[in-house]
Symmetry: C2
DNA sequence: TATTGTTATACTCTATAACTATA
DNA sequence: TATAGTTATAGAGTATAACAATA
């Protein structure tokens, strides 16, 4: 079972840009305080996801690994770790638990005896289907209250933004944006 | 100076809803994988913010406290901690550093001898102005590439969503959404 | 020499509880 | 009894470096 990590993104933070704070009188409502709203929405999603995936071995990251292992059939640990932007040492702990729960299996790569290919077990596929239902429900629940038009606009905007950010600087080391910000 | 916290939200995580992974062939592009995109955008902002606010005593949270203390003039530590959703023990460490840097001051509340009111020093105000410039630049930089229409739609959608989530369950303990998600 | 996967260690942040002093 | 603020302790999570096996 190991002692390892599991769930990242613990909790609070992120910053209001305007000189005031949400629900405060002199808050600048128009400028769309990206950082603050983003933080609220992100944390709401993260918290709901943690709750919904609580029984999955590595929590949300275990789920991610499951998803990625399913998508990249027989990818190596390292490949999948890179895809997800998680450290390979963390991947080891994660897989220890996922494998112990019979959700994935590490199979020696015949072509490269250093590597191990990941396979999702039948139980893994079954759980994955269940988890995706949960996540879809969760997402729908989060978006309740947004008119259809706004909802699609929001999702489209987020997708485009995410795509651009990924293009600039894939997953892990993302350090470019800082330079653009200079006194 | 203390040993204290500082920067939360360390790094990776958050989950793709679809059975696949970004930039992977069989990814469902239309459903707008909220969790995944949200994670990318959030982390990009968080990382840029950490870099931009690196010299501020508590990092992004120090900035937040500064902002809140400025908005809620002479609010008590506890009040501001509640506003920001940070623990009062963390607030202590944060303020130790902010006060040591002469950015805020703890002034005994004459009406309640247990409480201390926070005041932003002149140096604090000056720094705050500078930081807000940086944060605005950062936000603009993040949104580059989004057509004007999409940008306002995205910000509006985020704001509405955040407002609703805040109404459901203010800042800290946000545990309702989980119930809506049931097999 | 570089890479895959593993393990061990140290460090950072957070959560909890205990304590003082007021109310 | 409850609250404001502080302090100390233990825990979860991360990052780093070192290692063995292979390329």
């Amino acid at each position: 079972m190991t002692a390892h990590p599991g769930k990242p993104v613990t909790g609070a933070y992120h910053g209001p840009v305007s000189a005031c704070v949400p629900s405060h009188p002199n808050r600048r409502a128009v400028d769309g305080d990206l950082g603050w709203d983003l933080g609220i929405v992100f944390r709401a999603h993260a918290k709901a996801a943690r709750a919904a995936l609580g029984d999955v071995p590595g929590g949300p990251r275990g789920f991610q690994v499951l998803v990625a292992a399913c998508a990249e059939q027989h990818g190596s640990q390292a490949a999948i770790a890179r895809t997800l932007g998680i450290d390979r040492t963390v991947m080891t702990y994660l897989l220890d638990d996922l494998e112990a729960a019979d959700l994935v299996r590490r199979i020696p790569d015949p072509n490269d005896r250093r590597a191990r290919r990941l396979t999702v077990t039948p139980a893994g596929h079954q759980l994955l289907a269940e988890l995706e239902r949960r996540m879809a429900a969760l997402e729908a629940e989060l978006l309740v209250g947004l008119p259809d038009g706004e909802r699609t606009a929001l999702l489209a905007g987020l997708r485009r933004m995410a795509a651009r950010l990924e293009a600039i600087d894939p997953v892990h080391d993302r350090c470019d944006l800082a330079e653009a910000v200079d006194p």
